[in-house]
């Protein structure tokens, strides 16, 4: 599969949030305003691309040669947790400005299932190193797209008369649901017809 195919797949067709239910907690939690949504989106994209690469290395250099694939979950998540913490410390030291913009979202990413999700999906799809990396970036961009769109809609809704019981997270979910309904336009067949 070409890189373009991978990108279209993860940004539109298998958008992590709108079709795969991965990364919903930050999607609902950090989409109240556009600035933080953008920050979170880029932070996730960054971590996902590195994580996809790192876990690919673990899978191919450790787990497969030793025939211990059953340790996939534990090694992947260990790697991701350490990576997130490492990235956080590194950015904090090297670029305080970037840290201010992204930093507060970084700890949230450890428990973002989207990161582990992309690692597992890349492995299951037998991607090579570069494909994994591209898939990580693409899935991150898909997350970025969804969360930024969501935040623009929520900012609009902030100035509207949403009935009281629905205000806050309920309306965010319903908004997400309608977005997902529209995103059903993108499917595997579309990709096949475009590239196939």
């Amino acid at each position: 599969m070409t890189y373009i195919g991978i990108i279209i797949t993860f940004v539109f067709i298998n958008n992590f949030i709108l079709t795969q239910f991965l990364g919903l907690c930050p999607f609902i939690g950090v989409s109240k305003n556009v600035e933080s949504a953008v920050g979170m989106g880029f932070a996730v994209t960054f971590v996902m691309s590195i994580a996809a690469l790192a876990t690919w290395a673990i899978q191919n250099f450790i787990l497969i040669p030793m025939n211990i694939e059953f340790l996939q979950t534990i090694t992947f998540i260990l790697m991701i947790a350490a990576l997130v913490q490492f990235v956080e410390m590194f950015i904090q030291k090297s670029s305080p400005a970037l840290y201010k913009a992204l930093g507060i979202y970084l700890p949230l990413i450890t428990t973002n299932c989207a990161v582990l999700g992309i690692a597992l999906i890349s492995v299951r799809s037998n991607y090579n190193a570069i494909e994994s990396f591209v898939a990580g970036i693409a899935a991150g961009l898909g997350f970025l797209l969804a969360i930024v769109l969501m935040s623009t809609i929520r900012e609009k809704l902030d100035s509207e008369w949403v009935p009281a019981p629905l205000r806050g997270t309920p309306i965010a979910f319903i908004t997400g649901g309608l977005m997902a309904l529209a995103f059903m336009a993108f499917d595997k067949a579309l990709l096949n017809n475009l590239i196939g």
Binding site: F21, A81, C113, P165, L166, P170, F173, I174, G177, L178
Partner: protein, 208 residues
């Protein structure tokens, strides 16, 4: 003491109130039986990780706290995964990618962080049960609504010759399929949350 147990079920319900663990709450809830399986898995993992974290809270160094917790959680998840695949393969197939993702279920890490590493084993066990049951109940409610609307069936655990599926006449022939898909899951979740919020609002109004 009992409070640690009951708070997770309604007042601090992890899914509806704390909005944690949303991915599995929506991902696996197209069938009630999946919700039951996922709930059981989460209770087991939550129990195991809460016990170990509260036991090891003084042993684990601060700098590697998160990696250490997550390794403990991941071990329990892997055990669940392997046992499920070996002994309940049909359930394993329908839960699919979501079993390993129990690892990143924020409910579990959240409880380890916020509760187990500050409390005794006893309290942690109660907390795990309460949160786990609250999580499972929430999943069952979501799954029930989604399955009835989206497939016109209610699938429970198969017993003996009965396959465990209750078919609702009329609905099952032309169900609103959207509810079994991603869009419907998000909609159902939103309305259920709003319902809970509405009933809470009414309660406080009555008190006034």
């Amino acid at each position: 003491m009992l409070k640690e147990f009951t708070k997770g079920i309604i007042k601090e319900n992890p899914v509806f109130v704390l909005a944690l663990g949303l991915c599995p709450a929506l991902g696996v809830t197209s069938k009630v039986v999946n919700a039951l399986g996922m709930g059981a898995g989460v209770i087991f993992v939550l129990l195991g990780s809460n016990i170990f974290v509260s036991l090891l809270k003084n042993f684990i160094p601060e700098k590697v706290r998160i990696p250490a917790y997550i390794v403990i959680i991941a071990s329990f998840v892997t055990i669940v995964e392997m046992v499920m695949e070996a002994f309940i393969p049909s359930l394993y197939e329908s839960l699919g990618v979501f079993v390993p993702l129990i690892v990143v279920n924020c409910v579990i890490l959240g409880r380890a962080e916020a509760f187990a590493n500050k409390n005794t084993i006893g309290a942690s066990i109660l907390d795990a049960f309460g949160m786990g049951i609250g999580f499972t109940l929430a999943l069952i409610v979501i799954a029930f609504v989604r399955e009835v609307l989206g497939a016109g069936t209610v699938s429970l655990v198969p017993i003996g010759s009965w396959d465990g599926v209750i078919t609702i006449p009329g609905l099952s022939t032309s169900p609103a399929r959207v509810f079994s898909l991603a869009a419907g899951a998000l909609l159902v979740m939103g309305y259920l949350q709003a319902l809970l919020k509405w009933s809470n609002m009414r309660k406080t109004e009555v008190k006034k």
